[in-house]
């Protein structure tokens, strides 16, 4: 799959393959994922929980460790293949050039240190500020940038003393402190109240514009993806099943899973909700051929559920489905 929006890619993921290995078997959790993120682009990676979205993100940052490992593929960033980069170089790239924020901010802070201390630590570590005083000043500025206006007070609070929304803002401040090119946001709003969700989404959009960052936005929530995405990649059972410009995919979903997904959530266009029948397959024992076949209403149409479907590009949207096989139906 190539970048659907064209232009020079900031990050190119090619055939990324991540596995969990234990004594008995090897389970593929990210199956040859291929996609690009352009400069100032927001790519929404959509899928149910357990579909491999987070694994994809962690694989890009190489934050996986045994028994999980990257078994193949490439991740190109500024002419370097991150999969093969030495650990030292990778570490200096983490946070500074590719930052990440997470779903439950409360679990992602050191509970024993104040928010300020943790900000200062990152600022000093990445040499964004020299000396503690300067770092504290910068930290207050950063907190202001994420709409935490009484930064001077927040600095001295412990993570368990502030609300989830404030903490998510603080985490964003932490992430953008070294001015990264790419921000990976893993379900950043899922744990928050709906009102705060949209504030955070707005904040991320603003920051994207103001700091000209790219964002890899991971969510299971189609409505959230609709609000932020330039590009959409839909993941099912470790595989990308549909990948294309957001407008196109949302307007005209091709893969039966994408269609079902869109039908299952409230949207301006859909009046009735249709939950997807059945359960996603166990990745340790995926069905042969098309992984969605057991739940697919259209599987009977092509009758080739037992063979792996090809990836077909239709109108600059890539789809992994027998329905679009040029040689087939």
């Amino acid at each position: 799959m190539s970048s659907p929006n064209g232009g020079a890619a900031l990050l190119s993921v090619r055939g990324l393959h991540t596995q969990v290995r234990n004594q008995r078997r090897t389970t593929t959790v990210v199956d040859r994922a291929t996609f690009d993120i352009g400069r100032r682009e927001v790519l929404a990676l959509i899928g149910e929980s357990g579909s491999g979205k987070t694994m994809t993100a962690l694989s890009i940052l190489r934050l996986v460790s045994p028994p999980i490992s990257i078994a193949g593929g490439e991740v190109w960033y500024q002419g370097q293949n991150l999969v093969r980069l030495p650990e030292d170089a990778m570490r200096s790239l983490r946070g500074r050039q590719i930052a990440m924020i997470f779903q439950n901010p409360r679990d992602r802070f050191d509970p024993l240190q104040t928010i300020g201390d943790q900000l200062v630590e990152v600022l000093l570590h990445h040499r964004v500020a020299r000396g503690r005083r300067e770092a504290e000043d910068r930290a207050v500025d950063l907190l202001a940038e994420v709409q935490l206006l009484d930064g001077g007070r927040v600095m001295h609070l412990y993570p368990n003393e502030v609300s989830g929304g404030m903490l998510q803002r603080a985490m964003i401040a932490l992430a953008i402190a070294p001015a990264p090119d790419l921000l990976i946001a893993d379900e950043p709003t899922s744990a928050l109240d709906v009102t705060i969700q949209s504030e955070i989404l707005d904040l991320l959009k603003d920051l994207e514009a103001a700091r000209s960052m790219s964002i890899l936005f991971i969510t299971h929530d189609i409505s959230v993806a609709r609000q932020v995405a330039d590009t959409v990649a839909v993941m099912y059972a470790g595989q990308l099943v549909e990948y294309g410009a957001a407008a196109e995919v949302f307007a005209n979903p091709r893969h039966p899973y994408t269609q079902a997904l869109l039908a299952s959530v409230p949207s301006p266009d859909a009046e009735i909700l249709h939950p997807i029948p059945g359960q996603p397959p166990a990745l340790s024992n995926p069905p042969p051929g098309c992984r969605f076949a057991p739940r697919c209403p259209s599987a009977a149409q092509h009758g080739r559920a037992l063979e792996p479907p090809p990836v077909v590009t239709v109108d600059r949207v890539s789809v992994r489905c027998w329905l679009y096989d040029p040689g087939g139906a």
Partner: protein, 319 residues
């Protein structure tokens, strides 16, 4: 924090009261006439009768207990049969020496335990883990009194690097350096088992913290492993480690007893050992009562430090 501390301190009262009941009970479990045991074989019948009376042994048990506790509250633990000195001063003297040894052993055990535990946790399932945990297992299995004998046999008698026993040199002894020189072998012998336990605890708590999500977030921030370990993982493991370290320090106050005997260290354990041989019951029971108080206070200190170190405990209690 303050109310938490107050509550913890108040909870001690029934526990300490119970401890006195246990010790009082033990006095009365001693077979034979306590007065005869307390006064020794050379005592006259009159002296025994007067002691029985002053101990109130001719009165109902609750009255006896009340009178005894009154004496205990005045730090009067009776008089040693063998030494004919107040038990309180004998015990206090010996306790200070035990404290020195227990402190040194605790220090050694904690440093070694921390080192082994961190090595093991950060190399989970690797060679470092296996070696560290094997050392820890050996440490906990080897009897301290046996290790003491082996150390004496090799390092004091064969190589003569260290003294064979005692706390000070007979000639010009007593300087801190001299005491330290006498401390090394007994502290190693006493500290081996706690070191093993601390190592296991450190490994488990560090692994537990390593499993926490914030560690991954720290990595995503680009922090180095060393920074994460030293500034975040260890402080977070520390409350659990501290609890075990405190327990081990408490254990050592009693547990150095065996080592004290092997090294003739003039502490509580040696005192207890001698008093056992001499059937010096007032000293034995005085030691138990005294040490239980110290032990309870030590546990309290550990709890309070735990609270002080962990803002979650602190705030959850202050709100």
């Amino acid at each position: 924090m303050l109310s938490y501390a107050t509550r913890r301190v108040l909870l001690l009262v029934p526990v300490l009261l119970g401890a006195t009941v246990v010790v009082f009970g033990l006095i009365h479990l001693i077979p034979g006439d306590p007065a005869a045991s307390l006064l020794g074989p050379n005592s006259t019948d009159a002296a025994r009768a007067s002691l029985r009376h002053s101990l109130g042994l001719d009165e109902p048990l609750p009255v006896q207990y009340g009178k005894w506790i009154w004496l205990v509250l005045h730090l009067d633990l009776g008089e040693s049969i063998a030494r004919r000195q107040p038990v309180s001063s004998i015990v206090w003297e010996a306790f200070q020496h035990t404290l020195v040894l227990a402190a040194m052993a605790t220090l050694l055990a904690n440093i070694t335990g921390l080192f082994l535990g961190i090595v093991a946790a950060t190399r989970q399932f690797g060679l470092g883990d296996r070696v560290s945990m094997a050392v820890a297992a050996l440490g906990t299995a080897i009897p301290s009194y046996w290790l003491g004998l082996i150390l004496v046999s090799i390092l004091a008698l064969k190589v003569q690097l260290f003294p064979t026993g005692g706390m000070t040199s007979a000639i010009d002894g007593g300087s801190p350096g001299d005491i330290l020189w006498h401390l090394i072998l007994p502290a190693i012998a006493a500290g081996a088992a706690p070191a093993g336990i601390v190592a296991r605890t450190v490994r488990a708590s560090v692994l537990e913290v390593l499993r926490l999500d914030f560690v991954q977030a720290m990595r995503a921030r680009g922090l180095s492993e060393r920074t994460i370990l030293v500034r975040h993982i260890l402080p977070n493991s520390f409350p659990a480690i501290l609890t075990v370290m405190g327990l081990q320090a408490g254990y050592l106050i009693g547990g150095v007893a065996f080592v004290e005997v092997v090294f003739s260290w003039p502490g509580i354990g040696n005192l207890l050992f001698l008093s056992i041989g001499q059937r010096d019951y007032p000293v034995i029971l005085g030691v138990m009562l005294f040490v239980s108080v110290i032990f309870v206070l030590l546990n309290l200190t550990v709890d309070l430090m735990h609270a002080a170190l962990d803002p979650r405990v602190r705030t959850s209690i202050s709100t």
